[in-house]
């Protein structure tokens, strides 16, 4: 199994590369379309169903600046696939170059335990956890915008900050049960 490494290649000038990993391969396409609208920097979007990535393209694959795991909460499989794919990432990625994006979090049919386990996973890896409304165009645009905000930092395009610094501010925390706050 080949590990995907964050620092094995040189960065391109004024460009950023993002890898979207989604088991269902439904949301990633529309998200990619929204991501490449960015004009200030050249954004290369790579799509994958799961990791590891195939060996043959290894040579001409650019350096990946941000890996995004898209997890659809309505299926258990989506979460399991992401969990398995995480093992194919070099530990260097977890210094701020991985983030999770969750869809369908407000769906009634989603068991709360599943969201909790995603939260726990993201918190244990010190990664940010973003929520996205994948069913509306405005939601997709917003999700792309937020990913770009992170991507620009992880690609080193924002002066005075680094991926690790940002992830320290945005990493997911496991909230205790909000239902029963101990107020009195």
């Amino acid at each position: 199994m080949s590990l995907l490494k964050p620092f094995s290649k040189l960065p391109g000038i004024n460009s950023a590369n993002i890898l979207l990993v989604e088991f269902e391969e439904t949301f990633q396409q529309s998200l990619a379309d929204a991501l490449v609208e960015e004009t200030a920097v050249t954004v290369n979007v790579r799509l994958a169903k799961s990791l590891p990535l195939p060996k043959e393209n290894e040579e001409n694959r650019p350096r990946i600046d941000l890996v995004v795991f898209i997890i659809n909460l309505t299926t258990e499989l989506s979460f399991q696939s992401a969990e398995a794919s995480l093992k194919c990432l070099d530990s260097g990625f977890f210094l701020g170059k991985v983030c999770f994006m969750v869809t369908n979090a407000r769906n009634a049919s989603v068991p709360t335990e599943r969201l909790d386990s995603v939260r726990k996973l993201a918190a244990s890896l010190h990664c940010p956890l973003l929520f996205a409304e994948d069913q509306t165009p405005a939601g997709v645009t917003n999700a792309a915008e937020r990913l770009l905000t992170i991507l620009k930092v992880t690609a080193g395009l924002v002066p005075m900050t680094t991926a690790l610094y940002l992830s320290n501010l945005t990493r997911c925390t496991v909230p205790p049960d909000i239902d029963q706050p101990t107020f009195d």
Partner: protein
């Protein structure tokens, strides 16, 4: 046949409305009646009517297995139920058929599932079904299914007086372990002051000791406590799990579908009922899931209501002016659907000044339930196809909160949950608006409930969101401070922020919360400015916030002064737009006013608060930095906030680097200096900005700047900087006056 079951038809409606209906609404009544007749004529040939006739007449004990007839008819009814919804008569027939178990228990759940009302549910049918529930042959799961159905369609039951009349009968079912959570919910919706009795309270407490502190029991008990505090001595936690968790999404989505479908057909009729208080509108009030119900009363004939209680109740619907409201303040009958209060200004006036907490409790309950159902547990995964409607609802909620000048606790609880799954864009203005209305949160909770989710959103979102959030937090701070200045008790240091929020807070607790908030914004702003390259729009919103924060003592009487962090101070001081520098000067001027007046008060009264030396020291160093940068041309002076090594500065080859940020060379003011230079010495060919630095032109230059509208600088200058006339070189030297 259907006609014979039409108990709650227009005739009933008519008698109830004769008392207080205007002529115009009576004529609209007539048009409804005509339409009804037309409809009935069409139905005569309808196969559904035949199916209903079958279910009405079928004999008890008819076998189900192998009975094609019943299968055929049921499929027909199901089809109509799921597509168009069933008429009130059809519902009573089918409910009666199912609950009487005429054809055994197998068909019962299936029938219940397709009971989707098209308009309303006749109360009598429900009452009869509840009676069948008591007969006791129905399996437990079906019983639960029935009560769930009643809860789902509760808002569509045409009247509730008879249901309230059998309150005691329904109450008996709480002892049933399976039914208890659902019965409690139903009782919650039906409870009135008269229903609260000692023996019922005792029964509930007994159940609680048996089942543990179940949320459904606590909710019902809390309502009892509100009505009769003397009967319930139990302490109820001030915040509980929001709402009863009786999600019935299959019904809800079916109901929604039917209502949407019918909505297009009935919409023409809706336009007839323009006024909120038109009684005919009650029959078609719920076409959309988030539409506010029309204000309607549960009491139809005011003359003969409440025989048990001595006082006469007046429904809110019958009040048309503020004067009437004042007269009847003590005997208002609340509507059965609390959500309708949001739509009526009269009701809001009542809510605002009413002492009785039950109205707010019920409103909060309804609101919490609908917010939860619609935003956190969407059946369609949140596709906002009803967004127009949702926007209207949220805006109505916002305007209600603005009217009452406080947030509802249920919307607060909802927000805490929603923030953890928010994408930062969905209904952004409305959510941020609601967020700025939340009451003060204890400092021990504020980080977990508010700051953590907000921080994750803030740093991953666009500049636009960052500005919006800072503005929202500014409004939140403003509201908290305003509440404080209104509710603070004069003689005591303790304040009670209860009004309608049930939090009692000591002054020190309140101070801690405000401090947490200001420090949090300080953190967000420092790092946000750094990430966004000190964007001047973001800086402007941050300075907005500090314009509120600098005046906590003088304007709002809160003994607390918190300075901006250097991550905000320096970006503002070194900003490239003069407005930011000017605003910073104004903010520092206000800080000085607050600090000196606090100092004076400390001298006069012993009881006054103590501001730490650290704050004064920090403030003085800020003032010194500002004066040295802007007036004295002493940048990077040793001992100040920003220091650079001398060698490094020399290496940079900037000539006279120490003057780089004075009012002449500051990037924000350079253009003013050039303009002044031109005006002052129109003939001069070569521009020498340093000549402004001479004593006389420097004074003129300041005057010139002050005439350009930099009032902040002017106030700061007058308050802090003494002009010293040095004799030898004639250059003015200014020293900052210190606050301590």
């Amino acid at each position: 046949m259907a006609a014979s079951f039409n108990r709650s038809g227009p005739s009933d409606l008519e008698t109830s409305s004769v008392n207080d209906q205007s002529v115009s609404s009576r004529s609209s009544n007539r048009s409804v009646r005509v339409a009804e007749k037309e409809r009935r004529k069409n139905e005569a040939e309808d196969p559904v009517v035949l199916a209903l006739k079958y279910f009405n007449d079928v004999e008890a004990g008819t076998p189900v297995n192998g009975n094609d007839e019943v299968e055929k008819q049921l499929v027909l009814v199901e089809k109509v139920g799921y597509s168009r919804g069933l008429s009130p008569d059809a519902i009573s027939v089918m409910l009666e058929f199912a609950m009487s178990l005429r054809m055994g228990t197998t068909l019962c759940p299936r029938v219940l599932k397709c009971l989707i009302p098209a308009t309303t549910v006749p109360q009598e049918a429900v009452v009869r079904a509840v009676v069948w529930l008591g007969v006791g042959k129905i399996p437990a799961t079906t019983q639960v299914l029935f009560v769930k159905w009643v809860l789902t369609v509760f808002d569509m039951i045409d009247e509730k007086d008879q249901l309230r009349a059998i309150y005691g009968f329904i109450f008996n079912f709480v002892t049933d372990e399976n039914l208890c959570p659902f019965i409690c919910h139903l009782l919650y919706l039906l409870t009135r002051k008269e229903s609260v009795r000692v023996f019922r309270v005792r029964k509930l407490l007994e159940l609680q000791s048996k089942l543990g502190r179940q949320p459904f029991l606590l909710h019902l008990l809390s309502l009892y406590k509100v009505f009769c505090p003397e009967l319930v001595t139990l302490s109820i936690p001030s915040r509980m799990r929001s709402g009863f968790k009786n999600h019935t999404s299959p019904w809800k989505s079916a109901l929604l579908f039917v209502q949407k479908r019918n909505g297009s057909q009935v919409s023409s009729n809706v336009s007839l009922a323009v006024t909120v208080k038109d009684k005919t509108s009650t029959r078609k009030r719920k076409h959309h899931h988030l539409e506010l119900p029309k204000l309607s009363s549960v009491v139809n004939k005011p003359a003969q209501t409440e025989t048990s209680s001595s006082r006469k109740l007046v429904p809110l619907t019958q009040l048309h002016s503020f004067a009437q409201l004042l007269e009847n303040m003590h005997r208002i009958e609340l509507p059965s659907q609390m959500g309708s209060l949001l739509g009526s200004s009269m009701a809001l006036h009542y809510l605002d000044c009413v002492q009785d907490e039950s109205a707010l409790l019920r409103l909060n309950f309804w609101l919490g339930y609908s917010l939860h159902e619609e935003f956190l547990f969407c059946s369609d995964g949140g596709a906002s196809q009803y967004s127009e409607e949702v926007l209207q609802f949220l805006n109505r909620l916002l305007s209600t909160q603005h009217f009452l000048q406080e947030g509802f606790s249920s919307s607060e609880a909802f927000l805490y949950k929603f923030l953890t799954v928010w994408d930062g864009a969905l209904y952004r203005p409305e959510i941020l608006g609601l967020l700025s209305n939340i009451p003060v949160i204890p400092s021990s909770q504020i980080g977990r409930l508010l700051f953590e989710p907000l921080m994750q959103l803030f740093f991953t979102s666009s500049l636009f969101f960052k500005c919006g959030l800072i503005e929202c937090l500014n409004n939140m701070l403003l509201k908290w401070l305003t509440w404080h200045s209104v509710y603070a008790l004069e003689d005591d240091l303790d304040i009670s922020l209860h009004s309608h929020t049930s939090i009692n807070m000591t002054l020190s607790g309140f101070k801690d919360s405000v401090m947490e908030l200001v420090l949090f914004v300080g953190r967000l702003a420092s790092v946000g400015l750094q990430l966004e390259g000190c964007h001047s729009v973001l800086l402007s919103f941050v300075l907005d916030f500090y314009e509120t924060a600098c005046d906590t003592f003088l304007k709002y009487g809160l003994p607390l002064v918190l300075l901006p962090p250097s991550g905000v101070f320096y970006p503002a001081l070194l900003a490239s737009d003069p407005v930011s520098v000017d605003r910073l000067a104004y903010i520092m001027y206000r800080y000085k006013a607050n600090l000196t007046s606090a100092k004076n008060q400390e001298k006069v009264t012993e009881q006054a608060f103590h501001i730490s030396r650290q704050t004064f020291r920090e403030f003085n160093s800020y003032i010194a930095v500002m004066a040295n940068y802007l007036w004295n041309s002493r940048v990077f002076h040793p001992g100040m906030g920003v220091q650079l090594e001398k060698e490094l500065l020399l290496k940079s080859n900037v000539p006279e680097y120490w003057t780089s940020f004075d009012l002449i060379h500051h990037p924000a003011f350079m253009s003013y200096a050039i303009d002044f230079h031109r005006k002052c010495w129109p003939g001069r060919k070569d521009m020498d900005l340093n000549s402004i630095k001479l004593s006389k032109p420097w004074g003129w230059y300041l005057e010139y700047l002050f005439t350009q509208g930099f009032d902040g600088l002017k106030l700061f200058f007058q308050g802090n900087v003494r002009q010293q006339k040095a004799q030898g070189d004639g250059q003015g030297d200014s020293t900052p006056t210190q606050a301590r």
